[in-house]
């Protein structure tokens, strides 16, 4: 393969073709995952380091399983459990890990831009597994893949993302990726959590949730962190649920075939009603399942033939 791309930090500089390539290969990987022996030798001899400076068991598990299913060796680094990183610069930590002859880094970090720094400091292929509020590109890819499986295309889809847009790397990455692929994205939330500066050609920004959902093909609810109350962004959880919860009655405004997504983990009956999450419209479990195939595809595109 080899589209010349070395890192997946965000979608800056990515082409439609390169992304289509990843989504197509995800089909192949999905098929691998349906076999009795769910393993291919594609990454044999390659060492992948998951460098998680912020906890996320789900994302780390998904990446590590994806790497192992492709026969890569996996070095696991979790900042919390290690003597590395306390008081040490990000660069020093990465150089130490690099000394173990790592071929690629998968980075999760609480600071926006940390994955870019790791790419710079390590010189190795780097995949952003979520950095601060900046980007979570594999989440966006698996969301896009879920939409693709549902509707057969991304172009022209109307996708509405609802919630704490300000602090959401999922919202940023989805807006970047989907608008690049020709979808119409609407970002919606209370004004305190909605940077209007994110608006552009294919990205609308509105506080009006009714308008935002009208005619949508896809409605995505974002996780609301409890800290937003303390930060003074919201008066109360109950007021948020009253105004911005994604639920059945809201979905009546969307297209008949509209599906519901959530990047997880969910606060049931806060940002999304539990019954909707469990309904036939929900593709929340499919997202998790597709996540692994998409991550295998990303690893394949970035690492095969690069050793």
């Amino acid at each position: 393969m080899g589209n010349g791309v070395k890192h997946l930090l965000d979608f800056q500089g990515w082409t439609v073709e390169a992304i289509e390539g990843i989504l197509e290969t995800a089909d192949v990987m999905k098929e691998v995952l349906e076999r009795p022996v769910k393993k291919v030798p594609a990454l044999q001899g390659i060492t992948v380091c998951t460098a998680f400076f912020e906890n996320s068991t789900r994302t780390r598990t998904s990446f590590e399983l994806a790497a192992r299913r492709m026969s890569a060796d996996v070095l696991t680094f979790a900042a919390g459990a290690s003597s590395l990183s306390k008081g040490e610069s990000l660069r020093d930590t990465i150089e130490t890990l690099n000394a173990y002859k790592v071929d690629a880094f998968i980075v999760r970090h609480h600071a926006s831009g940390a994955a870019h720094q790791v790419a710079r400091f390590s010189g190795k292929s780097t995949i952003n597994a979520g950095d601060g509020r900046r980007a979570h590109p594999t989440q966006a890819l698996l969301d896009a893949y879920t939409m693709l499986k549902e509707f057969g295309k991304l172009e022209g889809l109307k996708v509405t993302i609802i919630g704490d847009i300000l602090h959401s790397r999922v919202a940023r990455s989805n807006a970047e990726l989907l608008s690049l692929m020709g979808a119409q994205v609407t970002l919606c939330g209370p004004a305190t959590l909605l940077p209007r500066e994110l608006a552009r050609d294919n990205v609308k920004v509105t506080t009006d949730i009714q308008e935002a959902v009208t005619g949508a093909d896809v409605v995505m609810a974002l996780r609301l962190q409890q800290e937003r109350m303390n930060g003074g962004f919201l008066p109360s959880m109950s007021e948020y649920a009253l105004t911005y919860q994604v639920n059945e009655s809201l979905l009546e405004r969307a297209k008949d075939h509209a599906i519901v997504l959530h990047p997880g983990p969910m606060n049931r009956d806060l940002e999304i009603s539990g019954s909707l999450a469990d309904s036939a419209r929900s593709r929340i479990i499919a997202q998790v399942e597709y996540g692994q195939a998409v991550r295998m595809s990303v690893l394949y595109h970035l690492l095969v033939g690069k050793k």
């Binding site: 610069s89 970090h109 600071a111 831009g113 720094q117 601060g132 500066e197």
Partner: protein
Amino acid sequence: MLEIKNVKRVGSDQLESLFIAEGKIKGWNLSEAATETIDGKGATVAPALIELHAHLREPGQEQKEDLASGLAAAAAGGYGTVVSMPNTSPVVDEPGIVATLIQKAEKLGFARLKPAAALTRGQKGETLADLAALKEAGASMFTDDGRTNENANVLRRGMEYASGLGLLVSVHAEDATLRQDGVMNEGVVSHELGLPGNPAAAEAARVARDVEIALLTGARLHIQHLSTARALEIVRQGKKAGAPVTCEVCPHHLTLTDESLRGFDAMYKVAPPLRTQQDAEALLEGLLDGTVDCLATDHAPHTQAEKEKDLLEAPFGIPSIEVAFPLMYTRFVKTGKISLEKVLDLFTVGCAKVMNWETPSLEAGSVADVVLLDLDQARAVDPKTFKSKAKFSPWAGEELYGWPTLTLVAGKVAFQN
């Protein structure tokens, strides 16, 4: 008697000789015999620059910078005098610390040190430091820079008290409750990058408050490192209304914008943050129309390791004292945006006026603080050669004109290249 021959005065192509004796300018083109001669090789001669805002980190953070490295860096940047900020560890809020710093600096023979002292104990913004005793020990001004003065009444009392001593108070004007945890300018770029933003309004709101306090008290107030068009406009209006307010602007706010953060390099993390192109242009306008009184660097050295942390954790600050003049000269004088006379004024006379110091001059009788500037030959910024301990620079590799070749402080060589 020292003769500096083959130098040009600003605006002239004629090669002349400047004579210096006993730390003072003796005169031009004298017939007396010199005991020592320095060949200026056609450099332009000007009064040495004055820095009103440098972080020299001593005492307590000598791994970042100390008096020796910081004052040597200043001299290499063409500076004869440096006002150091008191946000050290411990804070410069005791007369003994001021006195020690001055004594140490005198022995070094680089740029002259005029330490600022904290306005409040521990720079906590709660109770005034012993301002009279600090002045007695040699403090040149009072500031809680590094911190913002949240309590308006404490600032008012501090300004009133300091004005009774004939010294000014300078402020890092930013409303901390609006700034929050912002690490860069709040705007399109911060929202795209997902980095916590610091809105321009945090500066404007605080400047407005402080200008009102200056009007109320009639006491002198100096506003540090102004970064936004709005705050500058408020200063402009305040000056018109008669507020005894002065302000400084830093070269990085004139030459860099928040777009620099797109590479996620913490080197560009500075407080107040790099703003937009419109802000930078407004600041330049402020230099030209006299709203801005002087240029200051806010030289803020850190270790490389600290700047290689993630953007939330890395400290604020850009080291710039060694490149300030060449940068301003190359970007703005050579491009015809501003005259050499004006830029030099902002680096010298403007600073002295803010501090109520003797006007820098090359006329006979003036203190022989002198700099020679090579305006003809370009040289790339090479942080490895910095005298500062901070060996990184946003302008690394950029070809600049106007490098200092010689700095004299009271007639003594503090830097020579």
